[in-house]
Symmetry: C2
Subunit: 367 residues, 2 copies
């Protein structure tokens, strides 16, 4: 049993409390990771606000980077000392989804994600009570136990307090472009929402050779970031109609691809209206529990495609290390995503900044 | 100027009137066709009921088979004596859609479809007034002028009073399976609606080697046809919950593909719920003007695909003759689709039968 510091959510809409906890040793197929850093993502915020329902108390955080410090029996995919990213969607390697090359849809998603596979938690409070895991990652802790299916070794020369962002937001955005849409050179891409995910849609579209990358947001700060990340056109949706502007920019044709990195139902509908016949729209953002989108079916009958992207359609063990490589080669911007570096004690401050749209990403760094 | 008999719609929800009309000679790029037969489709019915808005008066019909009897200047794609099917979506061959192999999305769709490209009609009543074209096809007439872009020559040994169904419903259904979904052998396909389109989804799924073809309808007569066309499982939606039954049939997994051949918003939503993560749903049916569908976006974020199929995603000049060939080889059922053969004078009777769900397809035969 090892000690750790962790940020615990006890009740919806309350502040996280920073506590010393105990971490039980990894069981069979489990891995104990000493976290070095974690990004702070909107999905964590959704759990706090109650837009995502989750058993409480819980240690949030799912964008972690760390070092393996112990492995349970039967662990074959990593060893002590490995530098690792987390995959908040585990992949078992043998279900029908993994087998056909879609490990991001792995059957393990259908198991409870707030406990380990044996139905228990590895986190114990000082009073002996248990705390739930979050997506079997819980990176708002200095130490955690994960499924080996959710631990992805990467090269040791990459800075974990930067590349931890690849564990969710970066891959969610880049993968939607590269794996799901397979954006073609010369094409026109529209991106709604220029935060920690949308900026990665933008840089992946540029990497894929898109001819036009049209960024849509309501915050000038984020539109500024969008330009820095490669957007060729900016639309301030608080001042202009995005559908009209996209059609103007494309000479009346419409866009080839659209991405929504917000999870706002109305924006999803708008995105579809920006496309020409046969164009493709991908939802990346997670909508509040119970949300519905309303669509004119004739847009779809004309062969527009509406789909989504779950962890960027990624093949985790291939794509996460690949994106880290692209960063190390200078082809992908990650440092520019880190608006703030904070300690674990400042986690509530990180959520305030996120909620106000004042950051692309905050990173919590554990020293 | 040539005479013809035609069924004319003068007002929404009124009976068509059978009249002698004059057909002006084909202009440049136009083709005069003596129709031999025409299928009667739900889209024609939508124009009568007002679910589809259309300028009146109009000569409906868009599932025609006939023989070229005159061509205007500059016509290069057919000649007098050719046996032809009609393509209610013309393809110009040079727009960006046609160029990338998606001629069913051709830019000519953006032009008014109730008149020829010069903005006038070729149909004149005895009193000298003009009557609108319908999708530049108007096959509820013994003779019409069409764009050469909407005329598809086929082999002369095929019976036009049967293969005329390939001009819309058969291609709409088969093409959705073969061109849009590209259904793989062994997969599970669900089809909602077993009329003139849905039956062709079923037979194409069987042709493509689907492992299970699950047919859903509310009418026992249509479920009987579905079985005849290759369905392996039947669901009477008036008695059973299709979502629950599909999951039972697939051992809890869900279907790989779903098709909706009705145009009913609620059914479109249901279709999506029948799929496993990453499954694909295609809307074929045309919904009433102004209809909206309401969807849980989380179904899409899990990489289910919602799209549609417009004239079966067909490459008209390739696919229509190919389907005729498959029929002549005995691999595609067409005669079994023809529930009734009627004369042009019986067109209103044909719509009554269609409206009551008593036919897969009626064919009007002009002698």
């Amino acid at each position: 049993m090892a000690g750790a510091r962790a940020a615990i959510l006890d009740a919806v809409k309350s502040a996280l409390s920073i506590e010393e906890i105990e971490v039980l040793p990894p069981g069979p197929g489990e891995v104990q990771v000493k976290y070095v850093a974690s990004g702070v993502c909107h999905s964590d915020l959704h759990a706090i606000t109650g837009d995502m329902l989750h058993p409480l108390p819980v240690i949030l955080g799912h964008e972690g980077g760390g070092i393996v410090e112990a492995v349970g029996s039967g662990v074959t995919t990593c060893q002590v000392g490995d530098h690792v990213l987390t995959s908040y969607i585990p992949s078992c390697g043998t279900c029908s989804y993994c087998t056909i090359g879609r490990p991001n849809l792995c059957a393990l998603r259908d198991r409870p994600r707030h406990l380990m596979l044996d139905g228990t938690s590895r986190f114990r409070r000082r009073d002996g009570s248990f705390v739930n895991h979050f997506l079997q990652v819980s990176s708002f802790a200095t130490r955690a136990v994960l499924l080996q299916e959710g631990v992805i070794p990467i090269r040791k020369d990459a800075p974990l307090d930067v590349v931890c962002l690849v564990s969710c937001g970066v891959t969610a955005g880049m993968g939607a472009v590269l794996n799901r849409a397979k954006v073609k050179p010369g094409s026109t891409v529209v991106v709604f929402g220029c935060g920690g995910v949308g900026l990665n849609v933008i840089q992946a579209a540029e990497l894929a050779g898109a001819g036009r990358v049209i960024a849509v947001d309501r915050l000038p700060y984020k539109l500024g970031l969008a330009e820095e990340f490669g957007a060729t056109h900016l639309i301030d949706a608080s001042k202009e109609d995005p559908v009209k502007r996209v059609h103007e920019i494309t000479g009346g044709v419409g866009a080839d691809y659209a991405f929504e990195a917000i999870g706002a139902p109305r924006v999803i509908e708008t995105m579809l209206e920006c496309l020409h016949r046969g164009g493709e729209a991908y939802i990346i953002g997670v909508s509040p529990h119970g949300a519905r989108i309303s669509i004119d079916p004739s847009l779809l009958v004309q062969e527009r495609v509406l789909s989504g992207s779950s962890f960027g359609g990624s093949r985790q063990r291939v794509d996460l290390p690949m994106i880290v490589d692209l960063f190390m080669q200078g082809k992908v911007k990650l440092r520019e995503l880190v608006s703030r570096r904070l300690g674990l004690d400042d986690v509530n401050r990180a959520f305030e900044l996120l909620n106000r749209g004042e950051v692309a990403r905050s990173v919590l760094v554990y020293t």
